[in-house]
Structure formats: C-alpha cells, structure tokens
Amino acid sequence: MDIVPQLVVNSLIAGSLYALIAMGFSLIYGVTRFFNLTHGIYAVTAAYAVFYLTKTLEVNVWIAIPVGIVAAAALGLLLEICIYKPLRTRKASGLVLLVASLGAFTAIQAVIAMLFTSQFKTFSGLFENGVVQIGSAAVTYVQIALFACSVVAVALLWFLLSRTLFGRAVRAIADDEEVAKIVGIDTDRAIRWVVLIGAALAGVAGVLAGFDIGINPTMGLPLLLKGIIAAVVGGMGNVYGALLGAFLLGFAENFGIWHISGEWKDAIAFVVLILFMLFRPQGILGKKL
C-alpha cells in the first residue's frame, strides 16, 4: 500500500498534462464545433521551438519557453485564418474541417521531422535535478510546474469565461454563433482569441512534456488522443469538464496498471472512453443529449 501516494502523484502529473491539452481543445471545440486535430501539433511546435532556441541558439530557457508558447499560439492563429475560417465561411461540414485539420497535422509533423529529424531528443535546463519528497512519493520540479500550470490555467479560464465581456461573448458563440453575430458580437475576433488561448495552453503542455520526458515529432498524436478522451469524458465544449476528465483519465491509467502490466495503459484509456460513450455520452459535466 505504500506505493499509493506515488501512484496518486503519478496520476496528478499525467492528469495535469492531459488537462492542458483537453481544456484548450474543449474551449476551441466550444466555439468552432469541430474536432481540431492540429491541436496536437501546437504542443509539438512549442516543444521544438524551445529545443531549437535552447540547444542551437543557446537562448536562456526562461526566454525560450514564452517564445515557444507564443509560436504555438501563432501557429494556431495562422491555421485559423488560412484554413478553418475560409472553410467555415463556405459552410463546410465538421467532417471536412476534421479532414483538413488531419491534413495540416500530418503536413506540419512531416515538416518538423524534416527540419529536426524524427529522432527522440531530450532537453534540460529547467529546474535541474530538483526532486521533492512528499511522504513516500517523489516528484520533480518540472512535474510540480506541470500541475501548477494546469491549476493556473483553469483559474485563468474561469476568470476569462465568467468574469469578462470576452467570456460572455465566447459563451454566446458556443450557444449559437448566428445569434451572437446578430446581437453585435464580432464572432471572428472572439474565435481568433479562443484559438490563440487554446493553442498556447497546448504549447505549455508540449514544452513541459519535453522537459519532463523528451520530444519527437510524433509526440503530438498520443497527447492529442489523451486530450480528446479527457475532453469527451468531461463533456465536449465544457472546459471544467475537460479538467475533470483529464484527472479521471490520469487516475484510471495509473491505478489501472497497478496490478496489471504497463502495456495496458492505452487500452485502459480507451475503455474509459467507450464506457462513457455507452453510458454517459454527454460526459461528466455535459448537458444531456
């Protein structure tokens, strides 16, 4: 039983990573109503930007990290303006947008692999060798930062969505974009801001995952899949639901492999998804369908 505290810590770390992806994904889904698969590549872009800046240009890590996150946000905005907005204007279906995002995901991943090779790389320089002992559980500073970022992110999102005019606009668009337009909300501008914030959150996840474990160009897809599962389990379009879904997933995965082999981890994640699809398709906090 003395491994339980460590399992709890491991679950919180995994949950924090999934939460950063899932909250951004859910936020963007709320206003655009399609499965944006490029969300995974925002994380990869930020991680490689930090890798390039710190390893090749030898830029200070505290400058590189914000630049990496801004790079992810900028990529999100660029794709929104060049691909998704024109498609939405043409009334393209969600399926068309999904396929377009899959294409963009694959193309950008290939470009990153060409620029940096597809080799697994590690980088360091953030809180070197810092480990904290909490009872019988150990956790590194990077992992604490991951948890702290997810807490700060949810607090910021809560403030933005429920205490600002921007938040009301976002909620109005999520309810009905056409009506929001009629009442005078600049929906395109609001959507661009939402994409910017969502992509930046994915960027934070990518950078911290890079410091924690390492990077390769294909790291985006597993992150994205876990983020999507968390978002669906939490209730699509609901940011707080995504947070709950992410931690539920983190706990299910890590406690699930307590007594069985680690190779079952991904299978457990998808079993959780299927169970929710069957018995609670609207997710934890979603409205009944």
């Binding site: 003395d2 460590q6 491991n10 597809s118 697994f120 390492g214 680690g262």
Partner: protein, 370 residues
C-alpha cells in the same frame, strides 16, 4: 472529342508504364555492363537512427573499396538505402526493394521491429537477404534469409549468466519493450536466470512508444528486486532511467544492445547503466578508414555492416546475380572479416558462433567491462 482522345492517350500511357514496371526488365536480367544493385533497409531516422548511420558508414566504405577495385568482375555496384524507421515500416521498405527496385540482394533490416514484417516479404520474393536483427522469433531458417548478427537466444542467456554469476544478483525485476526483440530477450533471460536459481520478482512489458514509466518504476520500487533487467528500446529506456532517477530507484540496471544508440547514451540519467552487446572488433585503422571515407565515427555495428556487404559481394562474384545461386553460395560461405574472425551460417541461416561484451555507460559513451 478532344477530351475523350486525351483520356484515351492517358489510359494507354498509364497501361504502358504499368506493363513496363510489371513485365519490363528486372535487375536480375541486367546486362553484364549494368550495375549490380543491393538494397539496404536500416533505421535512417527514428529512435534507433544511430544504428542506421553506423550501418550506412560501413556499407559506404565497403562500396567505395569494391567499386575502386573494379566492382564485380567489371560491373559497378550500387546501393539503394531505404529508411525502415526501426518499426513496421520495414514491410513497405522490403516491398519496394524487392518488387519495384528488384534488387539482387538485401542487407537489413537492422531492427527486429522492422524485420518481423519484412522477412516474410523477402522470403516470398525469393530475394537473398542478410539481416542483423537479433530476435530469436524471426522466421530465419527459411531458404533466402540469413543473419550475420548473433541471435538474442544467446544474448539473453549471456545476460542472465552475467547477472547471476558475476554481479551476484538473485532477484531480478524485468521491464521489456513489447516487440520481437524485447520479447526474445525477455524469454531467453527468464529461462536461463530461473534455471540458475534466480527469481523474477517483477515482470512487465511496455509498448514501444510509451514514454511515461513512472508508475511502472513505482511498482518495481515496491518489490525486493536487487537489479532491473531492461531489454528496452531507446524511447522506453530513456523514460525508465529518468523515472528511476526521479523516484530514487538505485538498483543496477542491465540492458541489451538496443541501448547502444546515441539517443540513449546522450541522456545524463543513462550513466552507469550496464548493457550486453555482440562482440565485434572495431580496430583503429578501420575506424580511421571509415572516418576518412564517410566522415562518420565507426559505431559498433559499422564493422559488421562492412563485413556483411563485402561477404555478399564475394558471394555474388562467385555465384552471379541469380538468386538461387547466391543463396546456395551463402549457405557454404566462410568469410574472414574485420568485425568477426569467421562469418559462416548454420543450417538455420543464423550466425554459427557468437561472442558478447558487457559494457557500461560512462560520459555518454560505452566502455567495455568484460
């Protein structure tokens, strides 16, 4: 009318090209003046890219020396490199080399994960193929497949004997990558270790792409293991050593030859990890030749790649480019190389004899312990 004529011309052209590709002259029918083409399947990118780079350096040097000396009885030799990424891409690579490029013979795959799906394709196309993927489960022993690298049936046994007899460890925790290579080492290590009287106190496989092993290492920490045997691929292995350090798991770790890549060795947490790998000579004058010809430092599989390529060319010199003749010549070959004193194949197509080294990771490189 013009449009239908255009379509008609297009269809005829497509059919003509397809017909040429299917029934046109193959490499095996090349005229005596044409080059002899050898295909190479290696991980040029991906988590085991160092293996690919080392393999390519050895083959490039051999190729240069052979062509400088007049090729095969006056015919030049060319090589087509394909990237199998050390995963199931090996299947499409082998398909391309054998059915589109129609190469005379194939070297590689280097990784068992790529060789698993590739070997049946090579066999079906009757293309003589020499792999150096080491998993015992690979379907060697068919007609056209040979292996110039020792099978892991030897390596797992060697590792178990080293851990039990030399390190004096009796309780092993086992973490392995769930692919042909990891499973092969897992099975042979477990068999020999328990025969010697050791106990496997924890046994867990992980998928090849998993990079979070915190919970797995947490479980290992709660056991009374006195060492961890880690036949893991580089991505898993990096995750394992990082998690071990974070969780303060200080048990000695012993891995396999899959760890001898820059991707793993360059990680600071890898310091002190012990690994077993096949013993190949890599003399200084050979290293200098490789460096001069290719600009690459000779890695541990470079001399083997060099030897295997030269051996194959010697065989083709005697047998010609006919696949059956090459196969028969390979079955009786005795080749004295740089890496291995005598390369010959047993009736299963496997390397007839094998020696291993025990190495330790020190300052981002490996040093021989034994």
């Amino acid at each position: 009318m013009n449009s239908s004529l255009g379509w008609g011309v297009l269809v005829v052209v497509v059919l003509a090209v397809a017909g040429y590709l299917v029934w046109g002259p193959s490499a095996k029918d090349q005229s005596a003046e044409g080059p002899v083409t050898i295909g190479v399947s290696a991980p040029l990118t991906g988590e085991a890219a160092s293996f690919g780079e080392w393999t390519k350096a050895g083959i490039d040097l051999a190729l240069k020396e052979i062509n400088d000396a007049g090729g095969i009885n006056g015919q030049p030799v060319t090589v087509i490199y394909e990237d199998d990424k050390c995963n199931q891409t090996g299947a499409s690579v082998m398909q391309k080399l054998t059915s589109i490029d129609k190469v005379t013979a194939v070297l590689g795959p280097v990784c068992s994960a790529a060789a698993g799906p590739a070997v049946p394709i090579a066999e079906a196309s009757k293309t003589p193929t020499i792999i150096w993927a080491s998993a015992p489960s690979l379907p060697i022993g068919k007609e056209y497949i040979f292996r110039s690298y020792p099978s892991d049936a030897f390596q797992g046994k060697f590792a178990a004997e080293y851990v039990f007899n030399e390190m004096g460890k009796k309780k092993a925790a086992l973490l392995y990558t769930k692919n042909d290579w990891g499973q092969g080492l897992h099975d042979t290590f477990t068999k020999r270790f328990t025969e010697l009287g050791g106990t496997i106190v924890h046994d867990e496989g992980v998928s090849q792409d998993v990079n979070d092993l915190r919970t797995v290492l947490t479980k290992v920490k709660s056991t009374d293991a006195d060492m961890i045997y880690i036949p893991l691929y580089p991505v898993n292995a990096v995750a394992a050593v990082k998690a071990a350090k974070d969780l303060k798991v200080s048990l000695p770790m012993v891995g396999g030859d899959g760890l001898e890549t820059q991707e793993f060795l360059s990680v600071p947490e890898a310091e002190g990890v012990i690994l077993t790998s096949a013993h190949f000579e890599n003399p200084d004058d050979f290293k200098a030749r490789v460096k001069e010809a290719t600009g690459v430092d000779s890695g541990f599989v470079t001399p083997l790649a060099y030897d295997t390529f030269k051996l194959l060319i010697e065989v083709i010199k005697k047998a010609g480019t006919n696949n059956d003749a090459i196969k028969e010549e390979l079955q009786k070959v005795f080749y004295s190389g740089v890496a291995i004193r005598t390369i010959s194949f047993d009736e299963e197509g496997d390397l007839a004899s094998a020696e291993f080294d025990v190495k330790v990771v020190k300052n981002g490189k490996t040093e021989i312990l034994k």
